[in-house]
Structure formats: structure tokens, C-alpha cells
Assembly symmetry: C2
Homo-oligomer: 495 residues x 2
């Protein structure tokens, strides 16, 4: 057996184990009674440690060295490169740090839930301090091993190969563009007609039926996945058993609808990953930026387009028995295109969302470097909100306590949301040009040309190329801001 084959066998086993964890994680969020939490944490910890042990086995290092000299085809080479990257992440941390981080983040997430509910930042302080300190230790160990900055080493977990310089280039551009653009949009909105929200209640069953109908239209394979309900919508599971969740509000169907469509974008990426590379690193989704690009392409680019709204609004009118001015196309389009600076990132529209991300990017770098002492975070947060969005959160619950990411040790994750938004605009623009009659097809509820394009250009590529290589092959350009800005201008100042 070649070293390469030995690696394939080991990574396959590790991926299967990871799949088991993914299913248990889904159950955790969707099904599990509270009393099962402690045992579930034990199960996930045992599986996690076993996966880590497989990676740090010295045999892997030998196999990697040998495989890098073997004659391999392009996918196999990409597979080895991705194995090496994952191996470097795993071996950079000693077992004690892995365990300490796992325990500290579990604890901090629990404390965070209470602290957020109680609007009590002080209660979170010591525990979050510990998580940041351990994350910094991990980042420094990886930085030493990879020869990058500490922040870039953390970023590489979520968006392989991404550098601070790339983010700075993109974000500086958005920082210059968005605030004046936002003012112009708000001005135009204020001058135009407002919108009114259709009145509920909207039966959960009906909301779900509409969601299922749209998932089906978009090509979600229900033989290999499900739609369920959870407090925080997410896409979990594995490529052959993708578990989407959404949540339903009785007085507002609009959020669950767009939430379901967003997760469907993630799900299609997972379901269409290259089957022949199942369980190999090269067969997995490329990174968080591309993953978010697929969800935002469906939610923001496709589903809020006039063509899609023309297609879906008659369905909504029929499903909910909606009649009258609230249910007219123009009103619902204004509702779905409404822009308003707010306190909460997950509720933000696509114009203001990047400003939330830029704030977090600034702050997490400063926390990591130590430039920002944790005690000063609430003040720095509120100053940043004022500067970027023109609003000041009335309390920390609506401010620096809103996200689970930092308590969970996820520093370096936030930028991928906005990179995903940029990539979504770039992909959609290229797809429109390639397909020619995309809006007409969308208006008729025909999505095959679009999803085929995404499948061949993005999904089936897996991790065989870098994010920027995938973008260049599909759109002619590496990741940039032009398509996104053009999209915003067209939708919010022209349409």
C-alpha cells in the first residue's frame, strides 16, 4: 500500500467519526432533552479526542512526508496538501491545550447564555478572558508552526490561506463605500413609500410547507436530508444526510422563509460535494467564505431579486390566503429590500451587515493582540457601532453580548461572513452572464440552470482548489468588492 493510500484510509475513518459527531451535534440542537446535555458533551468530547489522536499519530507525519514524493494526480495532490494543512493545525497544539480549550469554551458558552439573558457583561469577563487567552496561546503556537501572524493562523481554520492583508484590502474598500452609500439608501427610502407588514398569525405548518416547496424547487434532495426546527437556524449533518433547521414566528413569515432559503444554499453545497471524494479532505467544502457565499447567493442574490419575488409572492398569497395592499408585489419587495441600521448582526440587512462584521474584525484583532483589554470591550463596541452604523446599543445584550463566537473560541470567523457576501455577488453576476436569461427562468421557478452552474463551478470542486482559484475560474476574478457594490447600487438606488 502506498503512503497516499494509507493516508486516505486514515482520513476516511476520521471523517466518518466526524460525521457521527455532526449527527450528535444536530440532535443536541434539535431533539435532545435538557437532561441529556452532560452525557452528550461527554460523547462529543470522546469522539473529538479520538479524532485528534488519529491526526497526531506519528505515522501520519511519516505518511505525509512519503506521499508528498509519490506520483499522484491533481486531486490526490490537492488531497495531500489539505491533509497536511489539517495535520499542521492538529499537531501545532499539545493535547493539554486542546483539552483546556474544549473545557473553557464549553464553560464560557454556558456562562454567556446566562450573561446575555441577564445583560451582565461582568459575569462573562473572567471566563471569556480565559477563552481569549487560550485561543491566543493556540494561535501563537500555530503562528510559530506556519510562519504567519497569530490572527492569520486562526483565520486559516475557517478560511484556508486567507491573510489579514486580503481582509484589510476588502474591508477598507467597504469601510469607505458603505457609510455614504447607506446614507444615500436611507435618504431614498425615506423619500419613497414605506411598506407594511402582512398581519398574522401564520400557521407553522403553512410556513413549513412553503419552505419545503421552495427547497424542492431549488433541488434539495429530501432522500438525503431533512428540514426541522431549532432556536438558531443552522445546517448540520453530513453530505448524504444534510440536516437543515429553521424557526417560525407566528406573526412574521418573512424571516423563516428567508432563513430556510439561506440554509438551503448551504445544504446544496454539502449535497453536491464530489461523491467520489467523500470522506477525503479534498472532497469537503472549501471554507467558510465559500460556504456563506452559497447561502447568501440563494438568500440575498436570488431570493430577494424581483424575479424570484415575482415567482414566490403568488405562492405566499395562496398559502396564507393573503389579499389586499400588504400582499402586493411592490409592498413585499419594499419589505424585503428595507434597510435599517440596527443593533443585532443576525437581523441586519445586506447593506449594514458588513459594518457589523468590520466592527467585530477590528475588535477581535485588538482583543487577541492585547491592545484592547477585555474590560474596555463594551465601550469600544458601542463607539464602533456609533462610528460605523450611527447607532448606540442601549445595553450589552444588544451590544457586545449578542454573539456566541468569542465565548466559543471562534476568533477569525467573522470576516468570512462578509467575504461570503462579496463572493455571492460575484458568483451571481457571473452566473447571470453565463446563463443569459436567468431572471426570466427564475420568474418561472426554473432554477436548474443556476444550480447546475453552482454545482459545476463551486460544489463539485470541493477543496481541490483555493477559494480564489475557484472564484477566478468561475468569475474571471479573485475575491473583490466590485460585484457586491454594483449589486447594492442596482438594488437599493436603481431598482
Amino acid at each position: 500500500m502506498s503512503a497516499y493510500s494509507a493516508l486516505e484510509a486514515r482520513f476516511r475513518k476520521r471523517s466518518i467519526l466526524g460525521g457521527a459527531s455532526a449527527m450528535l451535534g444536530w440532535d443536541n440542537a434539535v431533539i435532545m432533552p435538557d437532561g441529556g446535555a452532560e452525557e452528550r458533551a461527554e460523547q462529543l468530547a470522546v469522539l473529538g479526542v479520538m479524532g485528534h489522536e488519529m491526526m497526531v499519530d506519528p505515522a501520519i507525519a511519516d505518511f505525509l512526508d512519503a506521499a508528498e514524493t509519490e506520483e499522484l494526480d491533481a486531486w490526490q495532490q490537492a488531497n495531500v496538501a489539505e491533509m497536511r494543512r489539517q495535520w499542521r493545525h492538529a499537531t501545532a497544539l499539545d493535547a493539554d491545550l486542546v483539552e483546556a480549550l474544549s473545557k473553557a469554551t464549553s464553560r464560557c458558552e454556558m456562562i454567556w447564555r446566562r450573561a446575555r439573558a441577564d445583560n451582565d457583561f461582568a459575569a462573562l469577563g473572567p471566563s471569556l478572558e480565559e477563552v481569549i487567552s487560550l485561543t491566543r496561546q493556540g494561535g501563537q503556537a500555530k503562528a510559530a508552526a506556519f510562519g504567519t501572524s497569530c490572527y492569520a493562523a486562526l483565520l486559516d481554520e475557517y478560511e484556508p490561506g486567507c491573510t489579514e492583508a486580503e481582509i484589510d484590502r476588502l474591508f477598507r474598500d467597504l469601510e469607505a463605500f458603505l457609510p455614504p452609500f447607506l446614507s444615500a439608501v436611507l435618504e431614498k427610502q425615506a423619500a419613497g413609500p414605506g411598506f407594511s407588514r402582512p398581519g398574522g398569525p401564520f400557521a407553522e405548518d403553512t410556513q413549513k410547507a412553503v419552505g419545503l416547496d421552495l427547497m424542492k424547487a431549488l433541488g434539495f434532495d429530501f432522500n438525503r436530508g431533512r428540514l426541522d426546527t431549532s432556536h438558531h437556524p443552522f445546517t448540520g449533518g453530513i453530505p448524504d444526510d444534510v440536516r437543515l433547521t429553521t424557526r417560525y414566528e407566528a406573526d412574521d413569515f418573512t424571516q423563516s422563509l428567508m432563513g430556510t432559503l439561506h440554509e438551503t444554499g448551504h445544504a446544496l453545497y454539502e449535497q453536491n460535494l464530489p461523491r467520489q471524494w467523500r470522506h477525503q479532505p479534498v472532497g469537503a467544502a472549501r471554507g467558510m467564505a465559500l460556504h456563506e457565499s452559497q447561502s447568501l447567493l440563494v438568500e440575498m442574490q436570488l431570493s430577494r431579486s424581483p424575479a424570484f419575488l415575482s415567482y414566490v409572492i403568488p405562492k405566499l398569497q395562496k398559502a396564507f390566503g393573503g389579499t389586499g395592499p400588504d400582499w402586493e408585489f411592490e409592498n413585499l419587495m419594499r419589505l424585503y429590500h428595507h434597510v435599517e441600521p440596527g443593533f443585532i448582526r443576525v437581523d441586519a440587512d445586506e447593506v449594514t451587515y458588513p459594518l457589523h462584521v468590520i466592527l467585530r474584525y477590528r475588535l477581535e484583532k485588538a482583543l487577541l493582540s492585547g491592545d484592547l483589554p477585555l474590560g474596555e470591550l463594551p465601550g469600544a463596541w458601542n463607539d464602533g457601532m456609533k462610528e460605523l452604523l450611527g447607532v448606540t446599543p442601549p445595553d450589552d445584550r444588544l451590544g457586545c453580548l449578542q454573539d456566541i463566537h468569542w465565548p466559543g473560541g471562534a476568533i477569525g470567523y467573522f470576516p468570512t461572513y462578509t467575504m461570503g457576501a462579496l463572493a455571492a455577488a460575484q458568483f451571481y453576476n457571473a452566473a447571470e452572464q453565463a446563463i443569459g436569461t436567468l431572471p426570466e427562468q427564475v420568474e418561472r421557478g426554473e432554477f436548474t440552470a443556476l444550480t447546475d452552474w453552482l454545482r459545476t463551478k463551486v460544489h463539485e470542486v470541493g477543496s481541490s482548489r483555493s477559494t480564489n482559484q475557484i472564484l477566478e475560474a468561475a468569475t474571471g476574478q479573485p475575491l473583490g468588492t466590485e460585484a457586491f457594490k454594483a449589486h447594492l447600487k442596482r438594488r437599493y438606488l436603481t431598482e
Copy 2:
């Protein structure tokens, strides 16, 4: 660290891994889309192999030898004995046989599903032959290691320490008692008034609400468990997250009701296992006979008693809006006490059920020894049904193709159903004597005295004693047929 502590740590990890498998197995039966089956089988196989590898690690043998000479308290000693028993089972088989058995049974179960639907025993033949042959090999390897018969070695997996002599003693008694008793019951039934089945449809939500209500009354802890729906009702999960399932028929609420109560008996055993011995072999349920005794105690002894029916019938009348003669106590009691020889074991009443089991016991021993060639199974099955139950299945679907046990490699399992029925009668009789006013309490919906008795006498004992020691301590006798026969006579010839 003592050898004993080292063992505790290793068995704990293995049990946590087993818990992960249990949750995935539940998901498999209840939630999973069909397309996920292949990956799920991979996940369970990887987890199973890892659990097996932990057991056959040579260090375990050394720790066991050493721990058996260490100074331990009674529970620790029982724990080591149970570890030794599990270790002997795991190490008796070489890895190739374990893998071959796992693959052959997965394949055979799939073929069986189709063969049963098609009523095609010939299609099952080669695959079942392979499973029986591999099971025989495994049994012989264990028999050589344990110094028992091949059948007893297999039996020990399901009912530790049980011998063929014990089963023969119990079953010979039942074989002599049941056929004439059955005739007498059928005669009495024919002479008395018949019963009529309340007409449906019965809304699934209502059936479920009644089931949940009764589970709650019996003390099921919903913070550590759930009720869901599956094609074949079962109790899965782990003690702190017990997953019950049942199924609902629109035109008959009686089966789902008794099915839910049956599984609740299993569930209470799991939820009440000794918490301080969680994840240790001594903290697990004693064996399949005692497990079935708890489900049958709730379903057959308690829930079909006149006292319980007096308690539950007004609830049913209210829930389903049932009025008129079909809904009267006397009619529903006759329905729930109706005896009728049939073809299908899982649909059998408590009088005829043991005869189904006795037939399977005879046949599986003959298949294992080779005395009965597989090709002759259908004929032998039908002859046995005629002899024991007086009926002849019209086809193999209603005959030797009905059970999944043999295709799944479970030879030695069937006797535990009837041992459980005997133990249930013995426990209930002892509980009635100890409590004094049990029927009066049950009629008022008060179950605490009964469930407390079961908890202290059975559940919390875990595997710290043998099945017969538990029975003797609780009832004054090892497992026997007297209480069961007395129960049948009282219910079916006297009441």
C-alpha cells in the same frame, strides 16, 4: 493508579462511545432519511470496531488479572466480574470473525426485509445460512473459552449466566401447562360474551397525548427522555436520554397505548439505573430477561389489571369522546384480556406468547447444532405451530420469515422474552404483597409505591447481582413458573 481504576477509566470511555452509537441507532430508526443509511452504517461500524479494539487491548487482560487481586468493595468486585465477562465475549472472537459477522448480518437483514415482503424464503436461504454458520463459529469459540455449550455461550450475551438446563426446566413446565390451559381459556371465552372494538378514527395527537399522560403518571422523566414514532416500537438511547418510540394506528388506539406502556417499563429501568455507577458494567441493566420483565410488568401485570383499566378507561372515554357500549369497562376489559392463537409473535397475547418462544427456542437450537437443515425450517416451523398453538401459517411471511432476530445473528435471545414474562409475574406478585393496597392505589392512579419498589429491588441494583439473586432478594424465589401460572389462572379463568 490501581488496575481497578485503570479499568474503570477504559470501560467508561467505551460506554460513552456505546452511548454515541445508541443515539445514532435511534436516529436511524426514527429520523434518518433513506439516503443516509450507507453513511450511518459506516459510522456505526467505525464506532463498533473502536469499542471492540478497546476491549481486546492486551492491557485490559493485565488490568483484569491485577484487579482481581486488589482489595475492592462488593460493587467494585461485581464490576470487575462483569468486565471479565464482557472481555471474555470480546476476546473469544478474532477480529476477522467480528467483521465477517457484522457484514453478514447487515446484508442478511436487508435481504430479509425484501424476502419477508415477497414471502420468498428461498431468497433468504444462502444469506441466512452464512449468518447461522458464522454465529455457530462464534458460539463454538466462546464455548471453548467459557467451558459451556455453544448455545449457552450465545445465551450469555443476552442473559448472563443462564444455562440451557434452566430454560429447559422452565419451558418444559410451560409446555405441559399452556396447551390445556389455552383450551380451557378459549372454551370459557367462547361461552361468555364477546367484545367489540371501539370505532375510530383516533387522532394521532390524541393517542400521543394519552400516552404521554400515562408515562408521566408512571414517573417517566421527560427531562431525560422523549417519546417519538417509529415503525417498530423500541426503547433506545442512554439512561440520561432515554428514547422511547411507539406507532399509531388510526383505527385502533389499543395497541399504541399498550405499546407505549410496555416501552415505559423498559425506560423506567434505564432511567433508574444507579447513577453513581454510570458507564460501568455493574451499573448497566442486568440482562434481557430482567429488562423484559420490567416492560411486561408494566404492560401485562399492571396495565391490563382491572384496577388500572378502571383508572385509564375514563381517561380514554374523555380523550376520544367515547360513549356507548363499546367504551364500557366490561367490554374494554374483555378486549384487553382476549386470547387467540395467531401466527405473529409480536401480536400474541400473554397466554400464547410463550408458545411462540418455545417454538423458536427449539428451532434455533436445532439450526445451531445442524440437526435441522435450513431448507427444512419452513416445514418444521409450521409443524411446530400446529403442535403448540393449533394453527398453521398460510405462508412463510406469517411463519418463519416474521422475525428479524436470526437474520441479525441473535440466536439465544428469544428465551429471554418468556423468562421476562415469568419474572414480571413474580415481581408483581411480590410487590402486591409488600405494598398491600396496590390495586386500590393503581385505581387512583398512584404508582409511586410500585415504582419505588421496582426501583430499589431491581433498577438500582444494576448488574451488581445475578438475575436469580435479584429475583430471590425481591421475591424470595429464583425464577420460576408458579407466579406466572397463578396470574394466568386468576386473570383468564377466575376474573
